[in-house]
């Protein structure tokens, strides 16, 4: 554990001591080395995982998520090079430091073995993200976006704090290893329901669940590219991870109390997918698509079945990479035309054909094309939801169709057709951008050859 933590922490002096020509190279290289090392954590030989010490442990659920967040740091740094090019050196370093602090909190959050520590780090991730959104976003609405993001999450997580303190009092310890052995003595009363909802709300807001999702389109659209990437890829998964951990404590009640969230997720997936079809802003389209995919994860996580947990984990990892890649692609458009509107950047296949290849692959991954792991996750979720209720198949099937429709709509509008006159002299694709897309896509394709590493605890 110290291998990751100390090295990530040392990235901060690395940024501050780097000279100007070396800044980006140093940070990218070193964070990339850390992420390559973290790939060794893919191998788990026992159900208990790795236990480094009292505070940090890693099992086959948190392992893939940790690797995902380590992998994304160099990608975020690569993607931010352009929009930070004109800023003074100190401000670039502050930006990188904020990203690294966020990374540290994420690493510790995923490897935390005590639930209170997880909660503290869950809250800690809010602050660097808020700084990135409100300081480096590009429009006036970002203040509003930051406000929504902060207060939605805080409102959700305050009850969680109370619930965790109660559980700690009740059980004596909130360590992950002990939670399977000790069950709280809960009776089926109103206070238990409240306890259950208190535990769940924070993660539902984070996921986000359909009724609590208003912060996400705002935050994603107004954030700079690194902010969008980390939000879509990792921070949303904190919610899913949290649900899967905390439901161990509330054992017999989840199957009855999860109904509202299941219904909201099932309906919400279709709603947000349909909203995608009407979006005019490219980033907003991808943000709503994230909500739709996370709805599937909520369904799977609340099912508490082995297949469900497998589906949730796979979908989280797959969506992290796909969504982050789509945001990077949208950002390449934005950097060239300075507009996020979908209709102003059309017909790019003629002008940037290689980028079209990346758009195609990302869109196909988004719509769960076989043999990608997105499909694996969706299929597992559909199977587990069908076992819960036969009728949910209709809703899930509709969602799959609409997901395909909007992914293809996004692809066709941005790539095919006649290009608008004012686009033809845009800069050709930089190698840095190609590398960014490759680094997103390569893990996605390689994992699909052997998905057992990311299938989580119940494989």
């Amino acid at each position: 554990m110290l291998k990751i933590l100390t090295s990530t922490f040392m990235l901060i002096p690395l940024t501050w001591y780097s000279k100007k020509p070396w800044l980006w190279l140093n940070t990218t290289m070193h964070s990339f080395i850390i992420s390559i090392w973290s790939l060794t954590l893919l191998y788990h030989d026992s159900d208990l995982g790795y236990n480094y010490n009292n505070y940090f442990s890693l099992d086959s659920l948190s392992g893939p998520l940790l690797i995902l967040s380590c992998w994304l740091l160099p990608l975020m740094i690569i993607a931010s090079q352009n929009h930070l090019a004109h800023e003074p050196l100190v401000r670039k370093k502050i930006y990188l430091t904020t990203l690294i602090i966020l990374q540290l909190s994420l690493i510790m959050a995923f490897t935390a073995s005590e639930l209170i520590m997880f909660y503290i780090l869950f809250e800690t991730t809010l602050i660097p993200t808020l700084i990135i959104i409100t300081r480096w976003g590009s429009q006036n609405e970002r203040l509003n976006a930051g406000l929504y993001f902060l207060f939605y999450t805080l409102m959700g997580s305050l009850p969680l704090l109370v619930a965790l303190l109660y559980l700690h009092n009740n059980l004596g310890s909130l360590h992950m290893l002990t939670m399977t052995l000790v069950a709280p003595t809960l009776d089926s009363s109103m206070s238990t329901s409240l306890l259950w909802y208190a535990c769940m709300m924070a993660f539902m807001v984070k996921m986000p669940l359909y009724g609590l999702h208003l912060w996400l389109p705002k935050a994603h659209v107004e954030a700079p590219i690194a902010g969008s990437m980390v939000l879509a890829a990792i921070l949303l998964k904190l919610g899913g991870y949290g649900i899967m951990r905390i439901t161990a404590f509330t054992e017999p009640f989840t199957s009855t109390l999860c109904y509202p969230f299941m219904i909201l997720s099932l309906w919400g997936m279709i709603m947000t997918s349909s909203i995608c079809l009407r979006q005019t802003d490219l980033k907003s389209l991808i943000a709503y698509s994230s909500i739709s995919h996370m709805g599937l994860v909520i369904i799977a996580a609340l099912m508490q079945s082995p297949m469900g947990f497998m589906g949730a984990t796979v979908l989280m990892v797959a969506h992290g990479l796909t969504s982050s890649m789509l945001f990077c692609l949208a950002n390449t458009n934005y950097e060239r035309t300075h507009s996020r509107t979908l209709i102003l950047t059309r017909g790019l296949q003629m002008i940037l054909p290689l980028m079209c290849a990346w758009w195609l692959l990302a869109s196909l991954a988004n719509l769960a094309q076989p043999p990608s792991i997105n499909l694996l996750g969706e299929l597992l979720v559909i199977m587990t939801s069908f076992s819960w209720s036969n009728f949910s198949l209709i809703l899930l099937g509709t969602n799959t169709v609409i997901t395909a429709v909007y992914s293809l709509y996004m692809l066709i509008t941005s790539q095919r057709g006649k290009f608008t006159d004012h686009i033809y002299p845009i800069k050709p694709t930089l190698t840095r951008e190609h590398m960014l897309m490759t680094l997103h896509l390569l893990p996605l394709l390689i994992i699909s050859t052997c998905p057992k590493f990311i299938l989580g605890v119940t494989y």
């Binding site: 429009q139 009407r278 979006q279 035309t337 006159d421 004012h422 002299p425």
Partner: protein
Amino acid sequence: MIRRALQVGFSRGLLTRGLRTRSGGPFNDRDGKWAEFKKKLQVFWPGGSWEPFTDTSHLPPEHADVVIVGGGVIGWSVAYWLKRLEARKNALRVLVVEQDPTYSMASTGLSIGGIRQQFSLPQNIQLSLFSIEFLRNINEYLAVPDEPLLDIQFNPSGYLLLASEEKAAVMEHNVKIQRQEGAKVCLLSPKQLKDKFPWINTEGIALASYGLENEGWFDPWCLLQGLRRKALSMGVYHSHGKVVNLVSSVRSMMTSSGEQVDLKRIYEVHVKVDNSLECQPVECAIVINAAGAWSGEVAELAGIGIGSPGTLQGTRLPVEPRKRYVYVWHCPEGPGLEAPLLTDITGSYFRREGLGGYYLGGCSPMEEEEPDTKDLEVDHDFFQKKVWPYLAQRIPAFNSLKVRSAWAGFYDYNTFDQNGIVGPHPLVSNMYFATGFSGHGLQHAPGVGRAVAEVLLNGNFNTIDLNPFSFNRFYRGKKVLENNII
């Protein structure tokens, strides 16, 4: 009826504000309350003038998809049509930047508001035909809920163009083209002219063309306000300020003949706010130059025309302001209500103004006698020497008249061929032009707005083909001349 019943029934309750408004409750007038709160705070806590949250509502937004430079009738027409033709609601963020909110020097308000189809270019005729259809149905296009309807005050009196012996053949040819496009124009011989309008002295006239329908004059201010109101209601942003800088990213490329060409893309527009030193950079994807008489200056900001002459790089936008005078006089013995807008063979024109025996008119000066364009001061001698004699000769009743007032306005004069420039620039790829109409911009505004919106959203002209009006003709030297310039 239901609304009235509800109001009677619930007058004290939920629906005192009507069915369509929404109150923000304690958040109504947030900015006003914040300003009051700051004032109260200053009483207790007098400090410096630094404040953490300054009110920036007067600044344009930091980002807009399309920035339209120029808030005259062409600018607002483009904004309206962009919002109307966009595929989904709120797809585009459009910002209109106008340097003078009083429109004191803008061509729109100072125009006499004439509309005619008697042009020699088919495109001009088609634009006028669409515009008159737009104006006749203006409330179907521009009505805003809960606001009064527009009254464009269209006087369908027609245009009467007179031609001498040498120009008669051209006029006949033009009328043929106009009829082909669908304009209703008739040709009159001098005898027919005298029968129809007995107050004309037909000496020297060989032929006259008279617009029977869809020609006349209207209130330009009403059109501008109507377009503006509707565009604002559709979500167009506007800002009062002057565009001082256009920042672009440059790609230098080499043509096959070894010449270096700079392909530019404007990505930021710097807007300097009125009466203030604040300059707001607006990040944009597309800039539309609808600045009228000042379009040449705006084009230079983008670097158009800065280069060796004869190259595409060095081809400037040949639009400059030209001052034109309009005089209003009173003549009780004058032509009366039936008088069309008459254009004499000498170039002077007049039309009836109102119902009290007032007329207005003027004349385009010769190239050599162009007045200077520093300001809008009127030269009354021009009327005495260049307008009155010819008008008095043509209409004997005008021998005794009394000039009541006069004003001057600018033509956004295209020195190359006196026709508009519509479409993108070949090198600065995201600057679109909609300017240079040399006196017939107002009557073409609805059509031009729609054309620019089409070329921006679809990539080509769908309804009226304005390809001959592109910027390329300045480089190629192909003039698109209009014979009937007033």
